[in-house]
């Protein structure tokens, strides 16, 4: 066990706003939290990190009054408090911003911010005052948002601002944010950080939960690490290094996450053999979305991927990356252009046809697009190759079980049994099930859309290892990622998209965060570097 370090920021030598003291929480058969203590000071951002299952969400639910601890104390302003319900936590000034927002999509911003607490005369809402108060709040946050806008029409980032405004309106003193940036673009993340700094300046305390270590270093003052339900360590960010935090998280040093030498070795092999491309896209175009029939979704997209190559597809959210993936896979239609597989022009009309051609897709959102949560691991893994695992339409259960066992072993899916429902797995293990489903098909081309989103650092390294392995076996991989370090280190080449077009291509050697962002945003690299 790593000793927890006596770390205390000098400037906040005052008393902590919140102290969690030796809190233990067990569920039937599991100790979710054991003797965990932490404290947060006013005007401080405390990072909370840990692998999936380390106890972060349990702790958060205790602080928000959803769960009650079995033992231990929560001390707010020096007074022990018992949090019986979310309502009570809210009244005490603790606000939580969940990954999935608790907003009412059909109501306006102002209605959402003050829901249930609208300024009123008797039963009648005083709309003008509501508007004024909302505007004031948004001003304080420095957010430009129309208080009358319907929440459904807002972007994820804007909806998050509404949640924060709501927290402020409740006079929150402690704001807990759970993976707040998982669906944000880099610019939006920067805006969010400005707001967090503002909250800090006003003396609020923030607990910031994130998988992205670089964010912890940017915004947090101290970081607390949980592992297996216990406190693994606590240290000021100024003294921390990514390596040190990772070691606390996983309990051992982790090999270089991205293993750049793998990519370099691959490049040499590719240069040597120069294989023919297995996938070629020529002049792909699509016009019209559900909202806007004249919007250009994709325009003149051309590229190719060779066997054994990992090609990265970078760009801002909405730049057309996912749309390309879905078009190649037959999940969406395209209007113009041509797709060639093994040099043969093909028209892929459905995922079924794509699979027949040897194309696999690990989609963006595993829960919504890739897994049937109510089915077992075995059934999920077999889903895309039922034809091969059956005789006369009857599933060969023996073969299916053997396949599932082999995959669970090969990918180290942590589960007691292949009959476990996928619902009960952690994010990283779920993602492995998705990948296993495609590996079992032996695809020639594997498209991976955000393959490591929302999974913990250990699982992420394993997924990266798998990708290297697949490429070494001659699979052509097209990888989409919003995480720049990931895409830069994993890819042999990077195609950067901007507004539905390929804005440029970068080789492994020339790709840096600055060059990729410059192409993605259309501003020059030096400007990006300066910003």
């Amino acid at each position: 066990m790593v000793q927890s370090e006596p770390a205390r920021p000098d400037e906040s030598s005052g008393s902590p706003l919140l102290r969690v003291e030796r809190v233990t929480k067990t569920f039937p058969g599991v100790v979710a939290l054991q003797d965990v203590s932490l404290e947060v000071y006013p005007g401080e951002v405390l990072g909370l990190v840990g692998e999936n299952g380390a106890g972060k969400s349990t702790l958060m639910k205790i602080l928000s009054g959803v769960y009650q601890p079995d033992s231990g104390e929560i001390v707010l302003d020096g007074k022990p408090v018992t949090l019986h319900s979310p309502r009570q936590a809210q009244d005490l000034g603790i606000a939580i911003i969940y990954q999935e927002f608790n907003l009412m999509p059909n109501l306006s911003v102002e209605e959402n911010v003050f829901v249930g607490r609208e300024p009123n005369t008797g039963k009648v809402v005083r709309w003008r005052q509501l508007r004024k108060q909302t505007e004031d709040l948004l001003d304080q946050l420095g957010v430009r948002l129309n208080p009358g806008a319907i929440v459904r029409s807002l972007s994820v980032a804007e909806q998050q601002m509404v949640e924060i405004a709501k927290a402020l309106s409740l006079n929150a003193r402690l704001v807990i944010m759970d993976e707040p940036t998982s669906a944000l673009t880099d610019t939006e993340v920067a805006a969010l950080f400005d707001i967090i700094r503002g909250l800090k300046a006003r003396g609020l305390a923030v607990i910031y939960i994130s998988h992205r270590l670089e964010e912890i270093f940017t915004i947090c003052d101290r970081v607390t690490v949980l592992r297996d339900g216990q406190l693994a360590g606590e240290l000021p960010v100024a003294e921390a290094t990514p390596d040190r935090i990772v070691r606390l998280m996983v309990g051992r040093p982790l090999m270089d996450l991205f293993r750049p030498e793998q990519a370099e070795r691959r490049l040499e092999i590719l240069a040597e053999r120069s294989p023919e491309p297995v996938l070629e896209v020529r002049g792909l175009g699509r016009t019209g979305t559900g909202q806007d029939p004249s919007a250009i979704v994709l325009e003149d997209v051309s590229f190719s991927v060779r066997p054994g190559e990992i090609v990265g597809l970078a760009g801002l959210v909405g730049s057309g990356r996912t749309e390309i993936a879905r078009a190649i896979f037959g999940a969406d239609e395209y209007d113009r252009g041509e797709i060639l597989v093994d040099g043969q022009p093909t028209r892929i009309r459905s995922p079924r046809e794509a699979i027949r051609l040897g194309i696999g897709l690990v989609p963006e959102d595993r829960k919504l697009q890739a897994l049937v949560l109510s089915l077992a691991i075995r059934e999920n893994m077999a889903l895309s190759l039922l034809d091969r695992l059956s005789r006369f339409g009857v599933v060969r259960l023996g073969a299916e079980r053997a396949l599932a066992r082999r995959m669970v072993d090969a990918l180290r899916v942590r589960t007691p049994s292949i009959e476990q429902k996928v619902l009960n797995l952690s994010g990283g293990n779920q993602q492995k099930v998705v990948i296993a489903k495609w590996l079992a098909l032996h695809p020639k081309i594997l498209i991976m859309d955000e393959p490591t989103r929302g999974i913990d650092i250990g699982a992420k390294a394993e997924v990266h290892g798998l990708m290297h392995q697949l490429a070494a076996d001659g699979v052509a991989i097209l990888m989409i990622s919003s995480e720049l370090p990931e895409i830069i280190h994993m890819s042999d080449r990077i195609l950067v998209m901007r507004q539905g077009r390929i804005a440029g291509e970068l080789g492994h050697a020339e790709a840096t965060q600055e060059t990729v962002m410059a192409l993605a945003t259309g501003v020059s690299a030096s400007t990006v570097a300066a910003a």
């Binding site: 079924r352 919504l368 059934e379 009960n424 990266h464």
Partner: protein, 344 residues
């Protein structure tokens, strides 16, 4: 595997609690069958004849229509859909079966059907009409993307109307013994329609449990987008379940006319609710993806036993719908309670 990132000891235990026996979960899962047994015991203690072999067959013959319809309905509900049209399709298909059996003089009350192959033609016609109706519903749901509730609500009205137009208010009766055999005959001790009911339950069970088709139904119901991106033909699958449900309704139309000796416009009225209740009581989720034919069988028997037991106790039959309504809500509540436990 290139990277070395062995399991963190203890993580597995933290993420996945060991399976324990939770009384509420068990109660939720086995509530229908427990309730069925309790009811049977109560009614037997009141009236020993309730447990007789005679009553056993009688009970099944009373409920075979619900049972067969419920098998088809289970497929539909597993995909997350619903079929409100079964009662109306049943009535229309029953009239078609009767008309086909009696040939060109089908309006002539004094003219019995020819028996033999005419009966076979009648059965084929009824199932074809049922499957055809289902195909229309399935097309509207899967291709035109009209909600299943709306499509089959339309079907509920339209097929009843078709039956009215066809019959012009007159029932069709007088059938040959060959025809009546399918509703009233026996194979050994078992009534013919009960044998057919049993065959449907068995077939439905095998298909859902062991075939790729069955697996695909669960996948489409559990997550249609994931199913599509896994290469399943989701449109075809969704269409197919309405065809199955329609086929069952068509067959029941034929069997019911053979049982009652008359094809009537009002046949099967309100059956959709009892059938949906049976499926839901049996634990099939209305959201799709979870459920089983065995559950549906238990649900059907539960409703059958309840009806018959209430009749034995001379309970005013008007109370029956009230009791069914309460049981449906209660069983879904228990089921959800159990699921929440399992997921917590």
């Amino acid at each position: 595997m290139a990277t070395e990132t062995g399991a963190v000891p203890g993580t597995a235990a933290l993420e996945r609690p060991r399976r324990r026996i939770d009384p509420i979960e068990l109660l939720g899962r086995f509530a229908p069958i427990l309730f069925l047994i309790v009811l049977a015991v109560i009614f037997t203690s009141q009236q020993p004849a309730f447990a007789s072999e005679q009553n056993f067959w009688f009970l099944l013959r009373q409920n075979f229509v619900y049972g067969i319809l419920a098998v088809g309905m289970t497929f539909v509900i597993l995909t997350g859909g619903i079929d409100l049209s079964v009662g109306s399709v049943l009535a229309f298909a029953g009239l078609v079966a009767a008309a086909v059996a009696k040939g060109s003089n089908w309006r002539d009350v004094g003219n019995p059907d020819a028996g033999g192959t005419a009966v076979l033609m009648a059965a084929l016609a009824a199932t074809a009409v049922g499957a055809g109706a289902g195909l229309i519903h399935g097309f509207a749901v899967a291709k035109l993307k009209v909600p299943a509730f709306v499509v089959t609500l339309g079907g509920l009205a339209a097929w009843r109307g078709a039956a009215q137009v066809m019959s012009q208010g007159q029932p069709i009766n007088r059938f040959s013994d060959d025809y009546r055999f399918w509703g009233s005959g026996f194979i050994g001790p078992a009534p013919v329609p009960v044998v057919i009911f049993a065959a449907f339950v068995l077939l439905g069970f095998l298909v859902l449990r062991f075939t790729t088709y069955g697996r695909s139904i669960y996948a489409v119901g559990g997550n249609p987008e994931a199913a599509r991106l896994s290469g399943l033909n989701t449109t075809g699958l969704i269409m197919s379940v309405y065809v199955i449900s329609g086929f069952c309704a068509g067959l029941c139309g034929f069997l019911l006319t053979a049982r009652l000796g008359a094809a009537e416009v009002v046949a099967g009225q309100g059956y959709e609710l009892i059938v949906i209740a049976a499926v839901v009581i049996g634990g099939t989720s209305l959201f799709g993806g979870e459920g089983s034919i065995l559950g549906t069988l238990v649900g059907t028997l539960l409703i059958g036993v309840l009806y018959s037991g209430l009749a034995i106790n001379n309970v005013n039959p008007y109370f029956q719908p009230i009791i069914i309504g309460v049981i449906v809500v209660l069983s879904v509540y228990l089921d959800q309670l159990a699921k929440r436990r399992r997921r917590a």
